[in-house]
């Protein structure tokens, strides 16, 4: 098993569904948010692989049934993802803790090591 493990980690950013899409903040606050994310990405530039944000539009297929919207029934919704390529899970945790929402009680970030099964 350990031989196929990748050194990549998938990070899923989840937010409380009630608070997402993010509540409007002032332009001044948004500039501060931009600066914080930019600073984080610059600091861990060598280990971060840019992911993307996710729009509220989507569908869920379950047992052949399709429902629209990813968060109809869930309390939390995945709002974005990114990848970290680094030495250990501990290091990935350290990087995520340092991100602007790393300490936000409304955010939870799931970090999963990629299996590398795809070769």
């Amino acid at each position: 098993m350990s031989t196929t493990k990748s050194n990549k980690f998938l990070c899923l950013f989840r937010f409380a569904a009630a608070g997402w899409p993010a509540k409007p903040s002032s332009p001044q606050e948004m500039q501060a948010q931009y600066a914080a994310w930019k600073a984080w990405m610059t600091k861990f530039e060598k280990e971060l692989i840019p992911g993307d944000g996710l729009t509220p539009a989507g569908a869920v297929v379950k047992g052949g049934n399709v429902t629209d919207g990813p968060y109809i029934e869930s309390k939390e919704v995945v709002a974005s993802y990114s990848l970290i390529e680094t030495t250990s899970l501990e290091r990935a945790v350290e990087i995520i803790k340092a991100c602007p929402v790393g300490m936000d009680p409304n955010a939870s970030i799931e970090i999963r090591q990629l299996g590398g099964y795809g070769g």
Partner: protein, 432 residues
Amino acid sequence: MADIEPTPGLPEHYFRHEFGRLVSVLSRRFGVHRVELCEDAVQTALLRAVQSWPQRGLPDDRSAWLYRVALNEVLGGLRRGKRTDTSADDIDELAAETGTEEGVFMENEVKDDQLRMLFVSANPEIPRESQIVFALKILCGFSVEEIALRLLQGREAVYKRLQRARSALRDCIAEPELADVGQLASRLPAVLEILYLLFTEGYSSAQPDRLIRHELCEEAIRLGKLLEEHPVGAAPEVAALLALMYLDTARFESRVDGTGGLLLLEQQDRSLWDRELIQIGISYLHGAARGERFTRYHAEAAIAAEHCLAPTYKETRWAEIARLYQMLDSVSPSPINTLNRAIAIAEWQGPAAGLALLEALKAPSWLLGYYLWDATLGELYRRSGDSERATVHLTRALDAAPTDAEKALLRRQLEACSACPDRTANVQRLHG
């Protein structure tokens, strides 16, 4: 204050100012009666930028990027609301028209749109206190909470004032275009008053955070320059107001000591005054001198210039300042002018002359309860050696002073008062 930190790759206040620019541009295209829709669209565009720019990097033309996103939001909003919006134009036509104008970010055009929005804020249908709140929201990009903090008003009050402005504009499908200089000129006094109030809110408000106050002064100057650069603002009183704002801003930092305590003009370190800003202020004042018109802004700027150009407190031309306060009173009568003139006369001819002016004034009751009235009387009595009356007035001023900084200053003056030998008492003792 997170935004004091420079943002990599972006000018200071970029998001806030871009909000004002884009809302102004979109509101001209779609009508000020749809200003709320435009605000929401720009808000969404900025939010997208926060999500996308850190990862993808800044787009080559940031403004055009934001405009495209906001424009699509407005068009989407119009399509959704078409059934209820009876004033809805042909949206597809609007979309075609707005989408093809790539030259939208011609700097001049954007400036004109913002200036037009400043005149929209001065619409006589909007109550004065709502005009200021509206300008801070639309043109400066502050949120309701941020405005409440800056104007020391409740959040609810700010929100209500903003809504009052928006509902007044809801019926204004046709606001004047900037080309109608004649029509706009009638609103110029109201525009200047908005800028003057923004500035004084920043310069003298009780808000303890200096950075927050300074920001309001900066905004007033920014909008004032926008006005001055356009033919509609080519009036001497515009230059006079800019002169006043620059000459006051030059002294902004010197008014407090190292620990944030308030300093009297007499105690200020004049080497801290910003010579460059003073120069700009003086040149605006020269520009304001053309024509026959003499406004309160002329008088106040001339007084500020006298202080800025005096080498020391003692060498200030107090006679000239006393004369300027009299001129100010003739264009904008207020007993506060007499109060200030008394201070100048006291410096010029001695405290007794200043006191004589105040004792002769039929002060209205609101003035008698005003802390600066008591503070001035107290100081002049102290200087004339009447420490008993001085103590009465300074104590009363201390009770009514609105800020801790001012209370601390008055407390120091009271201490000076009790420390100095009481000449009146001495005289009585000698003769008693």
